[in-house]
Amino acid sequence: MIDLTHVYKTYPGPVHALRNIDLHIGKGEFVFLTGPSGAGKTSLFKLLSAFDRVSNGSLKVAGYDLTSITDEKVAFFRRNIGVVFQDFRLIPDQTVFENVALPLQIRKEKPSYIKRRVDEVLDQVGLSFRADHFPTTLSGGEQQRVAIARALVHKPGLLIADEPTGNLDPELSLEIMELFKRVNAQGTTVFIATHDHDLIPASSRVINIEAGFLEEVVR
């Protein structure tokens, strides 16, 4: 599902965010990415979600070669994945329902299916009662759950989440993790960045990143 070979990401400066990254994540895996702030977690997730381009190396995600993807194809690649951004990235003048429905509208799904699916996923994240509210009226935790609902609504093959529980209390964080596990059990590959080691199940695969270098954590 995810293949990185000798990937580098360098920002003007130059700032070397990622150095010689090699990583393979198979279909259906549940993988955690850990590391201190500024280690390169967000940079890596930006590359995986075609949020940014690699400086060097080879990057393949969900069957798409992101190192050479054209501007026309990038939209179709993004439809195959679900991304939870650290800063939620919700459209402020659209209701919770409309924000969550966006990925389905983009795919031109039928309104009846959109209604049913959005209601279902809002129920999963416990926000059915907020469907008609605007994001600015929600708490940080609720906004995060809306972002998660939007990332799941189109049943993506790969779910990437950057600190998805960063704004949630421990109880809700565990609930969200359970939700991710259920999604993973349905066959979706899940790759989550987190600071919170308590949320990582003992049997999970964990990758650590520090100063732009990646290493597999043996547990």
Binding site: T42, S49, F51, D52, R53, D71, E72, V74, A75, F76, F77, R78, R79, V83, F85, D87, R89, L90, I91, D93, L102, P103, Q105, I106, R107, R150
Partner: protein, 305 residues
């Protein structure tokens, strides 16, 4: 939800910003409209003076009744001539004496001498603005001059040339002012649209990141721009009409004295339609150009997180 409904919804949700844009764009359009209206009416007003060209056709001393009849018949058949009036030499002398003998009493002693030639006083038909030129009038004068028995054709050439020069200058200066104001207005309109689209940059980024195609993102923006352009042009027509009515009522007496009251007019329906269409196009094209700059598939990379 249809694309148009999406555009309308997005327009309503950014009501304050959109209304501000309508106001700014509307005022700019009004400036252009007012300049065009002034230019159009000044031209029409002055043209109505100049288009009433009068000519005097003097017959030669040797010309007889037959030649006079032929000239009269030729004048009657010329479509450029609205009316003519024959003035024989005695009548011409009498008119001259009536006007000037009071000022120069010595003229009465010359009553047995008649230096006046028989003449036709012509008034030309109203000349279409597109054909109105010195050459056009000169050509008519030459055709009449070539008729047998015609001694001279006079039409105040010097006055006419000065008038045409004045009209050319007037046209050029109103065109220049209109161009400068239009350019400045379009720059303001462009900035207003850019500000509007910039406000929605985040929305474009989000739509891109969840897989929206450029077409999906751009069409509602362009429609929204077209709605803004439509409202701005409609606003400018309304405001322009109010100002026009106000100016006309304020200066009606002066307008009547100048004899151009029936020549002044607001824009005709076709021109109004052109203004509306231009407004819609400016709004839509402006939005498209702005959104195209942002929505290139990688807008999030261009923005610092």
């Amino acid at each position: 939800m249809s694309v148009f409904a999406q555009a309308l919804q997005s327009w309503r949700r950014q009501l304050k910003l959109q209304l501000t844009s309508v106001l700014v764009m509307g005022l700019c359009f009004t400036t252009i409209l007012v300049v065009s209206l002034i230019s159009k009416n000044i031209e029409k007003g002055f043209s109505s003076w100049g288009n009433k060209v009068e000519m005097s056709v003097y017959m030669s001393e040797e010309s007889g009744l037959e030649q006079r009849s032929k000239v009269e018949s030729a004048l009657r058949n010329m479509k450029e001539i609205r009316s003519y009036n024959f003035l024989d030499s005695k009548k011409a002398q009498k008119e001259f004496m009536d006007q000037f003998s009071g000022l120069v009493p010595e003229l009465k002693e010359l009553k047995d001498v008649n230096p006046f030639l028989e003449s036709f006083e012509l008034e030309l038909s109203e000349i279409p603005a597109s054909m109105f030129s010195v050459n056009f009038v000169e050509d008519i004068a030459k055709r009449i001059h070539d008729l047998d028995g015609v001694e001279e054709v006079s039409y105040g050439r010097y006055w006419f040339e000065s008038y045409m020069g004045f009209m050319r200058g007037l046209k050029a200066s109103t065109f220049l002012i209109a161009m400068i104001l239009s350019f400045a207005s379009l720059m303001i309109v462009g900035n207003s649209i850019r500000a509007l689209v910039d406000q929605r940059r985040k929305e474009v980024e989000i739509l891109e990141l969840i897989g929206a195609t450029p077409q999906y993102i751009r069409v509602p923006f362009v429609l929204s721009g077209a709605i803004t352009g439509f409202l701005a042009s409609a606003f400018s027509i309304g405001l322009g009409f109010l100002l026009y009515g106000l100016v006309i009522s304020k200066f009606m007496n002066a307008v009547k004295i100048l004899g151009i009251s029936d020549k002044l007019s607001f824009f005709n329906p076709l021109e109004l339609l052109a203004i509306i269409v231009s407004g819609v196009l400016i709004g839509a094209i402006g939005s498209y150009l702005c959104i195209k700059n942002i929505n290139n598939g990688w807008s999030a990379v261009q923005t610092k997180a």
